[in-house]
């Protein structure tokens, strides 16, 4: 089952969901809005090979924002640390950005049960679009699970607070 906004608030208060910093004006009927942080990267051009480490270039993403261009893949991150050991998070965009042709997350919107961290966002646009750091860009919903929770996520991206793209394990505190 998907948690309602009121159920998300209760779960945050009971420490079953981490959403830090938490502000109630980001609560929707059945999700929480998250903001985009101020580090933005672009995937360098060229043939991609999953066996080789990918390279990214960090972009200047200040108060004037940045114009995302079609045909490129950008990595950003949530400003908030988000996670839950009890509910499965699903990170998507808001309809207000979808209506401007911005895809957030490429195919893998389903998170893992586990510790809270700043999530990496994968951004792609249909037409050029200027976005700004700190704007409310997406929403996360939380889903109840069925079955014993035997293990939580301990994969390569666990501590992945920066959108550095690979298992380099850079973190910020």
């Amino acid at each position: 089952m998907i948690l309602t906004g009121n159920a998300i608030i209760k779960a945050v208060q009971a420490n079953e969901i981490s959403f830090d910093p938490f502000v109630t004006d980001q609560v929707n009927p059945n999700s929480m809005n998250y903001r985009i942080g101020d580090e933005l990267y672009v995937l360098n051009e060229g043939l991609l090979d999953p066996k080789q480490e990918k390279t990214f270039t960090q972009l200047v993403f200040g108060k004037n924002g940045y114009v995302l261009e079609p045909g490129k893949l950008y990595l950003g991150h949530t400003k908030e640390k988000i996670g839950s050991q009890m509910y499965v998070p699903k990170l998507i965009g808001r309809s207000s950005v979808g209506r401007l042709g911005l895809f957030l997350q490429v195919t893998a919107d389903l998170g893992q049960l586990g510790a809270a961290h700043q999530w990496t966002l994968e951004l792609r646009v249909v037409q050029p679009l200027r976005i700004y750091p700190g704007m409310k860009i997406g929403q996360v919903s939380f889903w109840t699970v069925m079955g014993d929770i035997e293990k939580t996520y301990i994969g390569g991206y666990t501590a992945h607070n920066l959108p550095a793209g690979h298992v380099a394990g850079r973190t910020i505190t």
Partner: protein, 172 residues
Amino acid sequence: MILTGSEIQQQVAKGAITIRPFDPACLTTNSYDFHLSDQIITYKNNVLDVKQEQEVIVHTIPDEGFILEPGILYLGSTQEVIGSDFFVPTVHGKSSTGRLGLFVHITAEIIDIGSLNQFTLMFNATQPVRVYKGMKIGQVTFWKPSGEITIYNGKYKGLNGPQKSQIFKDFS
């Protein structure tokens, strides 16, 4: 939990789900197929900015159909008015449109509980693809929520037809 087709039909009969007009023939095993209205909008500007209100061009789909081109964002809408105060709708394309490389929504497939209107569809074509008014273009599923419900009261409440982004209001 996701509702089966027969459960969707029962909830429509009880008034807990609205799909208007409703045709039982459009029920699938666990979703309902919706149809494309005859309105499509595009933005006048090529370069968009979340802080600026965008002007739109309104197109009416002619009988011979309307070609969606890659690289251009199109907003359409469902013919049906859809919503529920008790279940969370999610929007999906149909596999038959997906196999043509056509996205019918972008990023925000989860609809707020209590929202009731014609869904705005967000089209992104991989190759040029012709669409027709009244065609089955996507499907809606319904999910049971957990927790106390607060009804949607946001910017798009009750607005029908393709609705442009109102995100600029976040910055005013």
